[in-house]
Symmetry: C2
Subunit: 450 residues, 2 copies
Amino acid sequence: MADVTARIARSAAAVESPLTDLAGFDDWFAEYGEKICTTAERVPLAALDQWYETPVTGDLRHRTGKFFTVHGLRVHDPTGAVHWWDQPIIDQPEVGILGILVKEFDGVPHFLMQAKAEPGNPGGLQLSPTVQATRSNYTGVHKGRPVPYLDYFRDTSRHRVIADVRQSEQGAWFYRKRNRNMVVETTTEVEVLEGFRWFTLGQLYLLLSRDDIVNMDARTVMACLPARSRPDGALHRTTDVLSWITGARSLAGVSTQRIALSGLDEWEHTDMGYSHESGGFFDVIGVSVTANGREVGGWRQAMIEPHGTGVIAFLMRRINGVEHVLVHARTEPGYADVVELAPTVQCVPESYRWLPSAARPRHLDEVLAAGPDRIRFEAVLSEEGGRFFHARNRYLIVDSDVPEDPGHPDYRWLSMDQLTGLLRHSHYLNVQARSLVACLRGLETARSAR
Amino acid sequence: MADVTARIARSAAAVESPLTDLAGFDDWFAEYGEKICTTAERVPLAALDQWYETPVTGDLRHRTGKFFTVHGLRVHDPTGAVHWWDQPIIDQPEVGILGILVKEFDGVPHFLMQAKAEPGNPGGLQLSPTVQATRSNYTGVHKGRPVPYLDYFRDTSRHRVIADVRQSEQGAWFYRKRNRNMVVETTTEVEVLEGFRWFTLGQLYLLLSRDDIVNMDARTVMACLPARSRPDGALHRTTDVLSWITGARSLAGVSTQRIALSGLDEWEHTDMGYSHESGGFFDVIGVSVTANGREVGGWRQAMIEPHGTGVIAFLMRRINGVEHVLVHARTEPGYADVVELAPTVQCVPESYRWLPSAARPRHLDEVLAAGPDRIRFEAVLSEEGGRFFHARNRYLIVDSDVPEDPGHPDYRWLSMDQLTGLLRHSHYLNVQARSLVACLRGLETARSAR
């Protein structure tokens, strides 16, 4: 493992590559984006030809029974700021594969990324993993072309697995969704198809610091990479961190109940979808997609469109000479296991207009007020574009002097090493925290490159 | 952590203690057992005063809505030997605490154990953890006395956490049951109540090798103790082990559906409970318990009574000079996460009379045929006596020369160190494997003491 970790660190330090010149990236991306442009427009739910509203419940389903279902969820959170609510939620029980293929060139591991158009992407193309496939994708329900490079991840016996762990996705929008995050290294000859390119990890970190280039699926896989272990110095023993998580999960009283989509309290149902009466949170919508260069030429589907741009931030500080971030043990109704570790702040500020002031997220004001001297990372990144329509968040890493005891039992300072250790296992860090871990690793790279 | 691990190893090596003389153990156990004897006899379900059969579904519930429910489960396992079956299952969503309190005497950590009578125990008393409490127990639904020593586990801030992890229980009988396995060390003064005693870990390992003394709850907590890490030498990289588990969990197609207890296919419902038409597997029964010295003087409750004594075994061999055991990635319908690592063999041999021969468990014949020169450990141990009536299994550790590639993708040789690492996290090792890990650690102790 030490060997793999050292080679990954070498790739992280490399921003030049004989295969890919970052100076030409924008031209390549723009040119290819024009060629495979995707447009998406809203249509009534009744116009989603392959989708139907189930009689009685109104649940949205695909005619094949595959892809995903949108149904209702009634949530009871006795310790939360809001004790009861109803919401639509996406149910997609199958485990997809998010996989990045790695191969060494001139002694430096390179990562094969795809420039991919997704209907929900705000700006068209984004860089995605080598493979980003639901089980419906690769078992042919999609009736499209086979997923390229999939075999590297379906049968790893002739390759080297660098990371392979199921992780959750947005627990506020997905009901127990898990994807398999994989990094696989090969020494075989790899044909580079149109739309794919090899990048060093250092190049990916540079691209990650720009708005809307590296997609969510790429970020979560990058976060699961092994990383160099530093000497001790974490504020809390790892046994105590695990005990804290066990306690939070044992005591969380949140419970959910599946209900009919048409039976949601406080949600309006129109021809165009579902919206919360307040105008906040998110809508369920139908979209018509026209695509060139994708598996099929066009399709219609249900999507979730959130309202407002979110703020997702880690507060960061040095303790005992070691960088720590302030994590939040957070409950979301769709988590497979009750509680996951989230960034210090994760919210859409404008949603709090409709919620009691006690619900205002801790540390949000500190993040919003941070001056440029405290902001170590800032970029607007979007969430998965296959199911979420223009879901954008401002990701930040902010220097802080919140004390070692942050004053609330749901928050704790963890070292980067502890996060890396937890990321070998499922369901400890939520998808937003994983995106920020990728950004944090990029910061370290930038610093050590200086 | 190194410090804790070394001190635990010291306790494991100690079979003498100034506090407890093992020579007097049997007398103490017999004497106390007479004093608090518990008797249990079968009664009709209708005679369970605080329990009722729910109209329409027949599901068995407690009048308070607490404790547990017995309902039906329809299981679909497209890759198993039997594709569809129905069964009763216990549903108890609350997370209980199984906790052992530790304190150092004369430089040796001692473990506070309780001699506890449970209605399902085949022989009366067994040694249980300091605390063995469902949430109903300790929130007072039981209307009994407060649970002694519970505060050490509910608020660990003034003590030292040695282990704290939620683990599953029998996935064939329990629907997603998890308990919190805790080991907490204190330096405060501890009053030793009647029925409790301090033991060294070495003493517990000696008692564990005798039939029906150390109960299941104690075994699973003991398995979660940290252990000395050995130099490398595992057959598979830990990254590959994790990838193997991720793959098994991603691909397992088992699905379950809750159904009415009265609607089970192939199960008979009589006044006395539920039985499978074949006479195999297990029954759901009612028992009337008369107890002295328990929280309440007597009660009636539903229980599960399995048929036949099971065989639970690890095959073991030395690879690269390091001890490995052959684990099985196993699906059970009640697991929270599809697949857990089980012993090489885990079955009730007589159940296979009613199943197709393709279902005959791999390696069972090797275990049954093993001569005394190959048997490293053997004892009949019983499963949790609060819900299971006379559930006994023959636990074995058997020397083997199964090759490094065991010839089936669901089996793999893992080193003891790898098991220890996995046991810091939830839901990797099933409860039967955890019992055997406790036995394995005992073997190591016996060997190093020689």
